[in-house]
Symmetry: C2
């Protein structure tokens, strides 16, 4: 039996993680990887318009599948992808970033070749790309098998990117050395785990009320069932910050709503801030954005923080305790809380007449009505996430946003990834024009790769989120080129899509109805008001000194 | 008199370098810079669709103006720009990259805020961005004045980027400390300069024939007059590699053509490779691309290499000798060569009938006829640069390409920069669809910012340059989304442009005529053959083992 080449081995090994597509942009130093992907029987090459878009798509895909593949070329390709991969590190998506570089023969001769600084120096960009990864490796035929297991183990244990680079000539050589067993998942230290469980149970024992705050990490690691079991065993309500929205189904009877500090619904503020115990399940991050600019007040002494690999209680840190083990152990022993308030969140109310112009108040409730069970909703940072964040999602609907990293343009790229990752679910992309312009050149690839999302683009004459944060909202830099958005899909090759441009609530509803029935993707341009912001943005806009510390 | 704030000072000081526009994408941590730019009397904010495009535009602008400004926000913005700024480092454009970060109050409190990894760590991206610069600084009100002089001096002495970052709260504080004199340009060591000149003259003294190879650096530093004087004093012919094309006017009577090793015109091969002396004027880089995959053979003993700040002759290095001083000193003392061959390059011949489909052979000569004196021709890496590289440009026409860094998509961004940098000259952008798709979302800003380039996009069913380099050209990854290119400008808001889609030589000529007469920008989609490559690509395609060392 002939041995596979380095690149064949890598692609095949990664495919066994459940990855069946690779996003990327081809390039000559990466041809060996490109060829290995294109010729692999169960991995499809999904070309993107540029590397940043590809990284965003890989991020979206990994959020659904647990891991993804991204392939770019040396220097120009990998550096263009950097921001997208760094965002995946921040928000925990396991992207395997495959990069090809010049042959070792050329490197050893210090040849002056393209995609270098012209100084005969190579591998100087590895230390840049590696900073967006939790593990990285420079592959050779000798080290390929065990190095790959090492970086796979690290990426999956952290749900963060791994960076894998190989020289063009070594890439196509057969692997050498013995086979290696797959590295086991990290296991909890049993003594620490027991101590953490005991400490948590002790804190819970005295509590009469409380709340669970599930973190985004729960969906990244796929521990929804384990956490749901804990929540049901405890009988406690759960609430989510913007970053964690819909990590468990919002149709669950114990879901009480979104938490954004004092601006949350009164029963949520009561449950989270006035309860006796808060279980931070997975490591919720109380970021500026998810707390409405630090409007949260939770006594740290009440919080049990179950992180990915450590649990914090009362200033004690229990190390090497895995999140899943805590969920399972606690679910077995947790007491059932009696008489806790499980008031469900109210759906947003439909306002605005049919002939009225679309406003922030009238728009978002109509999205809520549009959403269907199991949709994957991808909302862009800024206006869109603020508006959609306040809606109640139907059963099984997932929600993705980049609340922490907040790179605008992400959603238009990421939604390609979510749509490809699960073609049985509908992806709904909700974005604003300012963000969309960064990455809208990816739209053609939605059509080419045959996915059928519903896309909504808010055309409101500029960067509304920036206007909302400024004393003087009309700085020239908040203006944009006046795109004719609804004509864009056709220009980019998506000739059969349903497209519309809507200005009134009635037009919006009609277009939404058509999109529901269309057997194609749909792309709806919504004309909004230049200074009309969702409530959440107005709140943050009133708290800029808390937001920025100035 | 009230003191300016840090950001006001920076923008005003940079404007004195002749920079009157700033490219960028606004963002909240960078609002102080954004505000200072938008409110400066002689600097205009030129918003771009995304940061990579903005970096490319800043690169193009700096190639014309000598320096440029780019403004992005912390982390997400600056990292997205990284590849563009790194390319400017490789190919020497002095981009001043302005970045805003979180307030020092938030940094000292280790707040968990957007655009970070959520770990309370700040300034960890500075060491990434700084690698794309030749100098960087973290500004405070105290250090602002002298730090700025330091990084300006470095950027201008090297014509490479400088990275300037400031915390949001310090950004708007008044500068402190004394004023500082502008740092002088670096001066040559007079002893080394004299030794270098003597060594060069000695080598020239024995030579009967020779050639000058002007480098791209000559135009970056603006030393065209000094080098032209040296060339005219010597009477020597000059030739240029792809990277250096048109650095001096190709209408000059001593210009003999392009040099790409043995594939050059016979008289150029003779002059460069068989002459007695070669003056490498500015540090020509004999890269893989500019030498048709290392098809160059020049005896190193014949070469006088006048680098930016060092001269190399016969293995000796004369340090701290500035390029301009060498040009001036040599021009004074160089002998006049007699009887050297000054055969001018032949213009490309017009082939192909009016009703014939457009081919590589018929297309490029028609570009040559289209070009006018003083045009700024921006050609994309790959097919476009290979085809245009072989043409003879009219008097005063400049040519820009990214031959070394070779980041596809660059040209579509950079041409916005060249067009803005000198509105009295016409920018002609020549690109292929594979590259164009990376950055075509910038087209709307050409219209918004009122420039009127002529844009030509070759639609040839994929990445032709990649096909030309591969044994099997039809790998799936060489395919692209089927954009309807000529409809793109209107979709992106450029409603009044002249646009056309052409398939025959006659249609191309008619469209070119209209573009010549249009008072608007023009955008012409050219349908080409999937496997029809310019001659230069075929040559490189036949030399892949030399190209890649595999």
């Amino acid at each position: 039996m002939s041995r596979p080449t380095v690149v064949e081995y890598v692609v095949d090994r990664l495919s066994k993680l459940g990855i069946s597509e690779c996003f990327g942009v081809p390039g000559d130093y990466a041809f060996p990887f490109d060829d290995a992907i294109a010729s692999h029987g169960s991995v499809d090459w999904l070309g993107c318009s540029n590397e940043l878009n590809a990284a965003y798509a890989a991020d979206g895909y990994a959020r659904i599948r647990g891991a993804s593949m991204l392939c770019t070329t040396y220097a120009v390709g990998e550096l263009s992808a950097l921001n997208g991969v760094m965002g995946a590190k921040a928000e925990r998506s396991a992207i395997f970033h495959l990069v090809g570089m010049s042959s070792m023969r050329h490197q050893l001769r210090r040849k002056i070749v393209h995609h270098t600084l012209g100084d005969g120096v190579f591998q100087n960009f590895i230390n840049i790309s590696a900073q967006a990864a939790c593990a990285h490796t420079v592959l050779t035929p000798d080290n390929c098998v065990y190095e790959l297991e090492r970086v796979i183990a690290a990426a999956m244990a952290n749900r963060q990117p791994a960076y894998i680079i190989v020289a063009e000539d070594l890439a196509t050589r057969p692997i050498m050395g013995p086979t290696v067993e797959q590295y086991p998942e990290p296991k909890s230290d049993q003594d620490e785990l027991k101590a953490a469980v005991d400490a948590a149970l002790a804190k819970i024992a005295d509590a009469k009320t409380g709340c669970v705050l599930p973190a985004f990490t729960v969906s990244r690691f796929g521990f929804q069932a384990e956490l749901t079991a804990l929540i049901e065993a405890s009988g406690l309500p759960f609430a989510t910050t913007a970053m964690d929205k819909a990590v468990l189904s919002e149709a669950h009877p114990q879901y009480i709503g979104g938490y954004a500090g004092k601006y949350s619904a009164p029963n949520v503020v009561e449950a989270v801030e006035a309860g006796d115990v808060v279980i931070n399940a997975g490591g919720v991050l109380f970021t500026d954005i998810s707390t409405a600019a630090f409007a949260n007040t939770i006594d740290p002494a009440k919080i049990i923080t179950i992180g990915i690999d450590a649990t914090h209680i009362d200033g004690q840190v229990f190390s090497n305790v895995r999140m899943r083990d805590m969920f399972v152990a606690l679910a077995r022993e947790v007491k059932k809380f009696d008489g806790v308030d499980l008031q469900r969140p109210a759906p947003a109310e439909l306002v605005g007449g049919s002939d009225d112009p679309i406003t922030a108040d009238s728009l978002y409730p109509r999205y809520q009505r549009f959403f269907a069970a199991n949709d994957v909703v991808v909302a862009e940072t800024g206006t869109s996430a603020t508006g959609v964040g306040g809606l109640l999602l139907p059963d099984g609907a997932a929600y993705h946003n980049q609340t922490l990293w907040g790179s605008i343009g992400w959603a238009t790229g990421a939604a390609l990834g979510t749509a490809v990752a699960d073609r049985s679910r509908r992806t709904v992309l909700i974005t604003g024009e300012g963000s969309h312009q960064l990455t809208a050149n990816e739209i053609g690839n939605y059509g080419r790769h045959g996915v059928k999302p519903a896309i909504f683009v808010l055309n409101n004459e500029g960067y509304a989120v920036e206007r909302s944060l400024e004393d003087y909202p009309d700085w020239v830099y908040n203006d944009l080129a006046p795109w004719d958005y609804h004509t864009l899909p056709a220009a980019l090759g998506c000739k059969d899509w349903f497209t519309a441009k809507v200005k009134t609530n009635g037009e919006l509803e009609a277009a939404m109805n058509k999109a529901q029935q269309a057997d194609t993707a749909s792309y709806i341009e919504i004309v909004g008001g230049k200074h009309d912001y969702p409530e959440g943005l107005k709140i943050v806009g009133s708290r800029t000194s808390e937001m920025y510390g100035i």
